[in-house]
């Protein structure tokens, strides 16, 4: 679409109007502020971002009788369904150790990504009323979505820890590794949310494709199997799947949480390169996504 090109405010400004405006200290509206100013404004609106994320997190369950209980119940039910499907109905022998815990960690971590992706994509179009009524850096909306999903993740992690302990794992110091791992993953997810949010504004149809992309990644990211086991003879394909950012993050979390999987002979090997990949994906996606989003700042609200 032609309108993808970011506009600058000077479109069609007549010189006389501009001169008169300058004389009286009026500033031109619209367009996109420089990156530095934008970041500063975004920072000054951090309370709004946080409050908006928190309110949405609360509001989504407020009308239910169990209220915030669903924040815990939802992942529990999810774990039960996947547990039923993959360990009872589709059982097979070549399963990693402690398969229920393995599955729960994978599914919950993936849920964080898929939520950021699909809700982040809709963050601008579903808040169009707000965009058309209030002035604020539009990056607040995808960011608030990621924060909201991160709050949900916190609840899921608690459930996850309980389940992992119930399956016989004892908490150890390595569990703390999930904090940097999830932090890097959140950066990655925010980047994806920025990219998806802008693309969706240009082309609404993308929301139709997101479930399929998500589903594809669900099967490709080793949620219910270990990629290294399954694709060890596939050469380049196996390597690509191993490098898949979601597999990297999920492997880090599993390595941290599940004692029985640590080490190459048990399934998951974590090296400095894995952390470098996780950091690289997070930082690069975040920066690229943010800049891509900012470049169209003046266009949001027109659709």
């Amino acid at each position: 679409m032609t309108s993808i090109l970011p506009i600058r405010p000077e479109t069609g400004a007549s010189q006389r109007a501009a001169a008169r405006a300058a004389q009286y200290g009026l500033v031109q509206l619209g367009g996109r502020p420089p990156l530095g100013a934008y970041l500063k404004e975004l920072w000054s609106r951090r309370h709004l971002t946080w409050e908006f994320a928190k309110s949405r997190f609360r509001a989504q369950n407020e009308a239910n009788r169990l209220g915030m209980g669903w924040v815990i119940l939802n992942p529990l039910i999810q774990a039960a369904v996947y547990g039923l499907v993959f360990s009872v109905i589709m059982s097979n022998d070549s399963r990693p150790d402690n398969y229920p815990a393995f599955l729960v960690v994978g599914v919950f971590t993936f849920t964080f990504f898929s939520g950021c992706f699909s809700d982040g994509a809709k963050s601008l179009i579903s808040n169009r009323g707000m965009v058309r009524a209030l002035h604020f850096p539009r990056a607040v909306l995808p960011l608030a979505t990621v924060i909201q999903k991160a709050l949900e993740l916190c609840a899921m992690v608690l459930v996850m820890m309980v389940i992992v302990m119930l399956t016989g794992e004892a908490p150890d110091i390595d569990w703390l590794m999930i904090v940097p791992a999830y932090a890097l993953m959140a950066l990655f997810c925010a980047g994806v949310a920025f990219l998806a949010a802008r693309l969706t504004v240009h082309m609404r149809d993308i929301t139709q494709l997101i479930p399929f992309v998500t589903r594809l990644f669900f099967y490709l990211s080793g949620i219910f199997y270990i990629i290294g086991d399954r694709f060890q003879d596939e050469g380049i394909l196996g390597t690509l799947l191993e490098l898949n950012p979601l597999n990297v993050y999920i492997s880090l979390i599993r390595y941290a949480m599940l004692d029985g999987l640590r080490g190459a002979e048990n399934g998951i090997e974590i090296t400095a390169a894995t952390w470098a990949l996780a950091g690289g994906y997070g930082v690069v996606l975040f920066v690229v996504g943010f800049i891509f989003f900012w470049r169209a700042e003046g266009l949001y609200g027109r659709d």
């Binding site: 069609g12 010189q15 109007a17 008169r20 009323g129 965009v131 058309r132 009524a133 609404r204």
Partner: protein, 343 residues
């Protein structure tokens, strides 16, 4: 109260239909326009489009026949008089300069709605009915004016004439297709409702709304009591979710939040028609107050008495163009007399 609902989209969609399809009976012929306020205005009044502007869009209005107007005795000759008669504060400091503003929307529509009667009539490109095409809806077509400190400007026009879109455009919230807007600070649209959440309590919403208006956390806390007091809501309701509020109560809270900030430029879309009698008086008083504190207020309303009471100047918009810009009595009179008058 289009702007107040969380989904102003509806109002915009109405604009599309009115604008784009243009199948309303009797709307095909060009309307006799009273004058082109931009072209004939003194320099101090409006920003004139540069002659070398590549866009010739505003030109047709200029020389439109003023038969009807002449009949009513408000000919182009009388217009200059109208403008000078506008009772207002010192017209020294402009707060908003709108220069040849165009706003277009792209709508994806299928088949007949997209090809419509227009294309048949005008013999434009024949369209394949089944194909989906982007249709441009030209909601605001080359509007220019300058608002001054202390102005309270009413905006009138029929449904779908582009009033709400104009306001959103002038507020800098909908990007212009062409033209530009200069303003003293960011104009605030009284539409904080869009940021509020029905599931949350009134109290949380006051905080959320205040932050959304750009207040800091401390400022929100400092203003909290006065917002609640102005809204006149019973304290016990503040703990209840907003969805339990009556329409009037919710509207009062929204107005109170939005009006708590002293805006340099405030825009109100049909906001005064909500709330009970007592609250209406209070909000009118608040708008006068905002106006006196050297701000500029824009008010879109179909309730002409509200405009007469609050405003000193009126813009009459029809089909996205500025028909008339002048003092309240004259413009309202002409608007009421015209066949496009209030429904």
């Amino acid at each position: 109260m289009t702007e107040q609902t969380p989904f102003p989209r509806g109002s915009v969609a109405t604009g599309y239909n009115g604008e784009g399809v243009e199948n309303a009976p009797g709307q095909d012929a060009p309307k006799p326009t009273l004058a082109d306020p931009v072209g004939s205005a003194p320099a101090a009044w409006a920003t004139e489009p540069e002659p070398e502007q590549p866009e010739p869009a505003p030109a047709p209005v200029k020389k439109a026949p003023a038969k009807k107007a002449a009949k009513k005795g408000v000919g182009p000759s009388g217009l200059k008089k109208i403008k000078t008669r506008v009772p207002a504060g010192p017209r020294e400091r402009p707060t908003v300069i709108v220069d040849n503003l165009h706003i277009t929307y792209k709508v994806w529509a299928t088949g007949k709605a997209a090809s419509g009667r227009n294309s048949e009539k005008k013999g434009l490109l024949a369209r394949t009915p089944a194909l989906r095409r982007a249709r441009e809806v030209h909601a605001v077509r080359g509007i220019s004016f300058t608002a001054y400190e202390g102005d309270a400007i009413g905006v009138v026009g029929t449904n779908g004439s582009g009033k709400s879109t104009l306001l959103q455009g002038v507020a800098g919230l909908v990007p212009p297709a062409r033209g530009s807007i200069f303003s003293l600070g960011n104009p605030t649209l009284l539409g904080v409702g869009a940021a509020l959440m029905n599931e949350l309590s009134g109290e949380r919403n006051v905080i959320l709304g205040g932050l959304a208006l750009g207040l800091s956390m401390e400022e929100v806390r400092a203003k909290y009591d006065s917002i609640v007091e102005f809204s006149g809501l019973e304290p016990e309701f503040l703990d209840l979710p907003m969805r339990t509020y009556s329409q009037g109560m919710a509207a009062r809270l929204r107005f109170s939040i939005a009006a708590s900030v002293s805006h340099q430029v405030l825009m109100i879309d049909e906001a005064l028609s909500v709330g009970d009698r007592q609250f209406q008086q209070r909000s009118e008083a608040r708008i006068r107050e905002l106006r006196e504190s050297a701000g500029t207020v824009f008010l879109v309303s179909h309730a002409l008495p509200a405009i007469t009471k609050t405003c000193n100047r009126v813009l009459w918009i029809h089909k996205g163009k500025l028909i008339m810009d002048g003092g309240v009595d004259e413009v309202i009179q002409a608007y009421t007399d015209s066949e496009n008058g209030p429904e």
